[in-house]
Symmetry: C2
Subunit: 387 residues, 2 copies
Amino acid sequence: MSVTAAAGFAASGVHAGIRREAPDVALVRSLEPAVGGALWTTNRVQAAPVEVSRRHLALAEPQAVVVNAGVANAATGERGVEDAERTAEEAARALGLEAEEVVVLSTGVIGVPLPMDKLLRGVREAAAALSPDGGDAAARAILTTDAGPKQAVAARAGFTVGGMAKGAGMIHPRLATMLAVVTTDYPLEPGEADAFLRPAVDASFNRISVDGECSTNDAVVLLANGASDVERSAETDAAFAAALGEVCGALARAIVEDGEGATVLLEIRVRGAASEEEAVAVAQRIATSPLVKTATFGRDPNWGRVLAAAGSAPWNGGFARVDPSRLTVAYDGVVVFERGVPTGHLPELAGSAVAIELDLGLGDGAASYLASDLTYDYVRLNAEYTT
Amino acid sequence: MSVTAAAGFAASGVHAGIRREAPDVALVRSLEPAVGGALWTTNRVQAAPVEVSRRHLALAEPQAVVVNAGVANAATGERGVEDAERTAEEAARALGLEAEEVVVLSTGVIGVPLPMDKLLRGVREAAAALSPDGGDAAARAILTTDAGPKQAVAARAGFTVGGMAKGAGMIHPRLATMLAVVTTDYPLEPGEADAFLRPAVDASFNRISVDGECSTNDAVVLLANGASDVERSAETDAAFAAALGEVCGALARAIVEDGEGATVLLEIRVRGAASEEEAVAVAQRIATSPLVKTATFGRDPNWGRVLAAAGSAPWNGGFARVDPSRLTVAYDGVVVFERGVPTGHLPELAGSAVAIELDLGLGDGAASYLASDLTYDYVRLNAEYTT
């Protein structure tokens, strides 16, 4: 499953003792020469493994990914960089690779050094445990406060894309991170991975919000080993792009569904914006509005808050263009506000999914966003676990 | 007190029946010819009274301000504009003014039309009740879910500045708004009010966050009637600017202290930023971070979340410049992170005020922000009052 669904990949997950009981070191390895790429957090404060892995990817094509959970190795200074480097070296030694061919990811507490003895032992154990059936074990070993593993597979004629992810917001005190590792046996040339990854990530992981936070460790890594021997064409490239988008979309949705304290999956669909950029800005502003999110928790179709949020979406140094007299808003298909006038209809909201649709009536820009609601449990999870 | 502290102003507050029991119509009038100005919400969705009052201020100097609470007259289409216009006309008739000399403000439920019979009767009653002692009554008649009236006065040699405000976030379902009315007997020339108001508002109302929301009705209005007959000079202008800043600052602080569900007044002080704009961006990002705000509620000096927020402060299409290796963070004076390295010190947080200080170590940019914490009561207030 997940990262071992595609041909030519092995994975494992072991308990190294960084976390008390849960598995905490995962390894993913391509069994044939692979190419790959990654997209990283844009936070100005970046964890040491992000810095080290970026450097590795600039030097070589990645053949393996090591992930540890429990300690994020962020805000750890020079020592953190050395620790990330040593982790890659240890994995490379165990796997017969160069250190530069290893991507290192960490998730967990910020500001605490990695317990290197435990971690390096875990890396050696994980290397010994590598298996073509190890996808599940790997997907479990990258979690922190997640309710469960997040995996997705898209099988196509001739090739497969599979992935695993973790993340439920930056929910634990000093815990960071959304991580995803995606593997495929589709053949890519060196340097091509990012070009496929970018649009897939933009439409998935970049369109979700649990709490609007951006962590120091966020990363999405793609490994492609060509083990499928599919004959590439414009058609298969399009099929691969679609499969990659499907896997990223499913993993992103799983992250929001597991958002801390979440009781509702809120889908915001904006169309008719003056530009696509503005559609994204408006959807994101609504998806991160505490008032919209608390109203959603209360199953309240509070379109006044949606209007106020839509009208204050940061864009281009000001706010995205919104003209209330052209704006139409619907909840679960029921139009509550139509071109500037309340319709008087208010739907009953119930269940665990709510769709808010906006037609801005200005142009062709469209975008969707997935969000969780803001609940007592979100506050509890983030306030009560004090240091 | 408040809007009647300066010489030559009268005010009143009456119960017109828009709200069930509380007073809901306030009137402030200058007894001598005044000049004035206002700053408005920048939300793209603006309430009808904002549209009407902007137009009035472009045509004439304001002599009176009418405020109603209970209904925001936002998202009410053409009818809303006519209602706001009729309110100004009724006030003008009762006061012997032109409609253009009246500023109209509303706060309350979005998407519901004003009950005009009640409101116009209230306006007539408020006009009849005007008194130089009416500041308190006016300050009470502009509230919605506020815990109590918010007033401030700064008396200087020769002149006085006084003000009232309402706002505790956009807390009630479909309720909007931060409103402030400030009066002074300091002599200003026509057209000068905005130039004094802008820096005072930028350093006060624009540096607070209860929930990061920007309402459809936010407004700050200044009336200056020159009743003090103070002799103007560069010195008195500076004294007036300082007094105006003091009143706006006190009102802004009162709004945050009354933030919905707030248990802590969080003060964020950023210095050493590459520019002042970036200092504001970083302070604002921290002040609106759900993770920092829940940690504050939990009295958790969670500097990892502060770092992650500081590193992702939107600025200039990207993030404000932050270099963790130059960054120092302190909680209540205790340095927890110093130029890239955790110090190991963690202060005990207790009480109802927390100060987080950041030195970015990059330049001379500095800014402060006041925020409330994110609590169970915030969620309760905003989720449970369903429509």
